[in-house]
């Protein structure tokens, strides 16, 4: 017993703030939302237990749920890799060796600061208007751009571009990660006659893997939960034709526009399970490509 205590004491001591927070503040609401997902709850009246009904309805009748899943998946699959690639590319360009680098970093981070503000929503409409900047640029190279915002086939792309453009936070994390790579490995690679590309793929990428992994998992989770961009640009509804019906936008509407908190909770738990599944897969594959220098074994 004493031995158990001694062995675990430090770990739990350091974990204690989180544990307190988790049990005091986090777990209650999470479990409550799980409970609510089995009830009919319109916020005003007390929840009524209805078992799995919401889940049945979701999978059998709810076409918008399926549409929302499809939109969200498409968004995740396309935007996350693109965003990471951009973030890494820019992080490498802004790693070192130029003056005023802090300002450049700030400028490249700016879009992420503006986040989902009204300004960005208005601006995005201007850019992707039929006669907007994007189409003007496209017409320069002889392409007649579509009605980005109206055409259900293209509307999602405007949000993907928005998401990719806001690559600031993974960029910053990459920057910090790049700084942890020992220089002498680049020297060794240099001696081994590795060119810049080879150095990138053989040294930078593998040694950055823990950070890449972090960004991948977190950006994936964030993308699944992505809300404000779609909400603001589509005016909260997921228009046109539900092509911007992100899962959380749908969820928000169910919860706050139509006051179906119980159903929204069920939606949330389905999303949670999906995200968890993806995350578990990511963690499982990470065994094969993420190398932690200091883990023994």
């Amino acid at each position: 017993m004493l031995k158990f205590l001694r062995r675990n004491f430090a770990g739990y001591a350091f974990l204690s703030p989180w544990l307190v927070g988790f049990f005091l503040l986090a777990i209650g609401p999470i479990l409550a939302s799980l409970y609510l997902s089995f009830t009919k709850y319109n916020v005003v009246r007390p929840p009524q237990w209805i078992g799995l009904e919401h889940y049945f309805y979701m999978f059998e009748f709810d076409d918008r749920f399926k549409k929302a899943l499809q939109v969200t998946f498409t968004f995740v699959v396309i935007s996350v890799p693109l965003k990471l690639i951009f973030a890494l590319g820019v992080a490498m360009a802004l790693d070192k060796g130029i003056r005023a680098i802090g300002w450049y970093r700030a400028l490249f981070y700016l879009p992420s600061i503006l986040g989902g503000s009204i300004a960005v929503a208005i601006l995005w409409r201007q850019l992707f208007n039929y006669e907007g900047v994007v189409n003007s640029v496209l017409s320069l190279i002889g392409i007649q751009g579509p009605y980005w915002l109206a055409d259900p086939d293209y509307a999602l792309w405007t949000l993907i571009v928005l998401a990719v453009w806001q690559f600031g936070s993974p960029m910053l994390i990459f920057l910090a990660g790049l700084r942890a790579i020992p220089q002498d490995l680049y020297e060794a690679a240099e001696i081994d006659a590795a060119g810049p590309v080879k150095k990138f793929f053989a040294i930078t990428v593998p040694l950055l893997a823990p950070v890449i992994f972090f960004n991948l998992v977190l950006q994936m989770i964030e993308a699944f939960k992505s809300f404000s961009g779609a909400f603001i640009i589509s005016g909260g509804s997921g228009a046109p034709l539900d092509s911007l019906l992100f899962f959380t936008v749908y969820l928000y509407n169910e919860a706050f526009s139509f006051l179906r908190m119980g159903y929204a909770s069920a939606l949330a738990w389905v999303l949670l399970l999906i995200i968890a599944l993806f995350t578990i897969v990511a963690f499982w594959t990470s065994k094969y490509w993420v190398h932690y220098e200091n883990e023994r074994g």
């Binding site: 319109n42 916020v43 005003v44 009246r45 009204i118 929503a121 208005i122 409409r125 208007n129 039929y130 009605y147 980005w148 915002l149 109206a150 055409d151 259900p152 509307a155 589509s234 005016g235 909260g236 509804s237 997921g238 228009a239 046109p240 034709l241 539900d242 509407n253 919860a255 706050f256 526009s257 139509f258 006051l259 908190m261």
Partner: protein, 401 residues
Amino acid sequence: QNTQIRHFWWGNPERDKRTFAVIDIYNEKTPGVTVVGETLGFADYFTKLTTQIAGGNMPDVIQQGYGVLFEYIANGAVVPLDEYIGNSLDISKIDQSAIDAGTVDGKFYALSIGANSHMAMYNTRMFEEAGVVPGETFDPYAYTYDELAEFAATIKDATGVPGTDDNTADYQNFSDFVVQKGAMLYNEDGSYGPTQEIVEEYWSTWEKIRNAGGTPPAQETAGLAGVSELSQMGVVTGNTAMTYLWSNQLVGVQSLMEDKLGVATYPNTPDMVPGSVIQPSQFVCLTRDSSDPEAATAYMSAFVNDLEMTKVLGLERGIPSQSEVRAALQPDLTEVEALSVEYFDKIQGSTAALPPPPPSGSNEVEQTFERLAVAVLLEQRSIPEVASDFLRQANAILRRA
């Protein structure tokens, strides 16, 4: 001992200033009672209200709109005021139409603080340039869809700007159209009123206007479907010459524009059956969670009756429903405010009767309409197909609610 009354409204800088000033006046006048103002932008108001309801922590007095009021009443979040009438609450000088609008199942719930109606707003400069003169070329208070198609195209030809917004996806216009066609949006039994024919005809009507060249390209309209930001309205961005909104938005829209706005009703069918209603834009209501309803209703009463206070409030929330107050305000109106008062005078008598409160789910039906209308705009499916799809979904929603 001091009673605290919380008053919560959605606002803007101007309204907030006025309302806080009014609260100060009231607090000054009423020792022992302190009113505390809480305010948010409209977009966030209901999110917060919802959490407060769930927490049993609603403010005593809340602002409500016509659309969602009935859900709150049905669920008991808002309580009847009948027992306070004559005591703490004075409604003797309130218009009967406003009282009726706040009455459900014989109980009075909501005190109107501003009247509202559908209103078309047009850019007078563009109309003028195209030679479309109100009162001569067209009657702003009685014009048909066919006329609209005609002069919208004229404007497009003359100015390069389409003469009108495309309302294919505008539910307000649709709901007027339904009434103009002699139907009801909701039947007595709560089922959905519009028939397949009406829906088809509505969309065909707008298709005609569109084909006549008076609207922006259908795709452009589709891209704006669901967007309610005033700044994105066609008349504001200069993409069209006429936009269809609510009368209480007139001032806000004008403030975003250089050109002067003119006002008109929504278009009508040749039969000229009135389709628009006058309804309160905003109410103040007493909530379930109020700890001192007496004091709260007394405040509500002062808010609509006290001339000192209403003078400060002005027309900011729309046209007051209390006759004395209206009269007192008349001299100080701004140009736009005068325009909107004039509009109300003109439409008196040519409006439809106020329908019974919409059932729950109506909100969602509206969204569904807007969503599916985009398919019409993009010509993805034929109008009859979309119409029947819409009716099917609307009925499913109403059944589920």
